[in-house]
Symmetry: C2
Subunit: 214 residues, 2 copies
């Protein structure tokens, strides 16, 4: 029986306007690191694709650093080939400037019109080709958490989705609900991210890894 | 003779589009921390207004944390009242979305038009009311470094300007030129940021602090 190989995306990504300025978010990578540690504890082989963060990932996992959403998608798509499942814990920047200036944009006193287009959705893209593999998404919303999380699970073809609020960012604590495709809550965890991560991994392990009996 | 009191702005700032997404840059605060340490070595009293960074500032300086450019300007303006000079080493986000959404903007598949306006320039604003105090700016440019730096010095009424390139961001090294109002180079320093900071502080101390003979 081979070890389950779990791929985790973690941290923010950056979408540059020019060589200096970029769009991003405050994702710290703490939840991704905690999930990696919890998966290792359960005997998984773990690969993390991480945006720029200061957090330390466990020594026993392989970490592939990336900057932009395009880079995260490319790295995750390649690594997913060899994985049994994906936990999409990253907060990839989901808009990118349509035009990226090659030199720093000089201030002129005039407003700057920025034309943003959506980046490819990493979880949705990989879930569309998942086959027998499982995919767990994260939904970070500032309102209607539960409703929007279930809509995301369906739209992105996830096997489970973890719903949390923006207050989780940069915090060592988190409060999450794990939702199944039928809309039921299959786990509710609150506390230190390390403990919340163990709860989430326990649900994944029992519901998604065991049935495969690899 | 009172100790010179040096105010340093350091790190990036963030300008939010909504509660999750923001514009920023990769300033690490390392140069600001090195300048603070160098100023303390020369016997200055040091206050740092810092955007969100992971760097550790010296224990002996007072650190005032801020997030946005507006907050950095407000804090720096108040602290400048009691200071003898300002080193503007921060990389404040110089554009802000005209409208900030109170909830996370939902993706719709459509492009997002972002209307950005310039934030107030912290160094220029404080230099306009400096009186007998000195102001040292930083110019980070990706091309025409020297020319643009001198134009900035004049426009912002600085006493000196430190010119460097974008490669300084997130690096422990830097290569700078210190330029005077007559366009002359009064210092050129390259190496570890700690050593470059000592060079810059030495120029400030001899050219701007000593003449005041406080």
């Amino acid at each position: 029986m081979a070890l389950p190989h779990t791929l985790i995306t973690s941290g923010p990504t950056r979408q540059h306007l020019d060589p200096v300025r970029y769009l991003t978010n405050a994702s710290s990578g703490q939840m991704g690191a905690a999930l990696a540690a919890a998966a290792l504890e359960l005997g998984h082989k773990v690969t993390v694709v991480s945006g720029p963060v200061e957090v330390e990932y466990p020594n026993l996992c392989r970490v592939v650093p990336v900057v932009s959403t395009e880079e995260m998608l490319a790295a995750a798509a390649e690594l997913f080939e060899d994985a049994d499942g994906l936990i999409g814990a990253a907060a990839p920047c989901d808009y990118r400037p349509e035009v990226v200036a090659s030199q720093k944009i000089s201030k002129t006193g005039a407003p700057l019109e920025l034309h943003l287009v959506e980046t490819d959705d990493i979880v949705a893209t990989l879930a569309a080709r998942k086959g027998a593999r499982w995919v767990v998404g994260f939904a970070l919303e500032t309102d209607d958490h539960r409703l929007r999380a279930i809509a995301k699970l369906e739209r992105k073809h996830c096997d489970l989705i973890v719903s949390n609020g923006a207050e989780a960012m940069r915090s060592s604590h988190n409060s999450v609900e794990v939702l199944a495709p039928d809309g039921s809550t299959v786990g509710r965890f609150e506390g230190l991210k390390t403990d919340v991560a163990r709860g989430i991994l326990s649900v994944i392990d029992s519901r998604l890894c065991r049935p495969a009996s690899r």
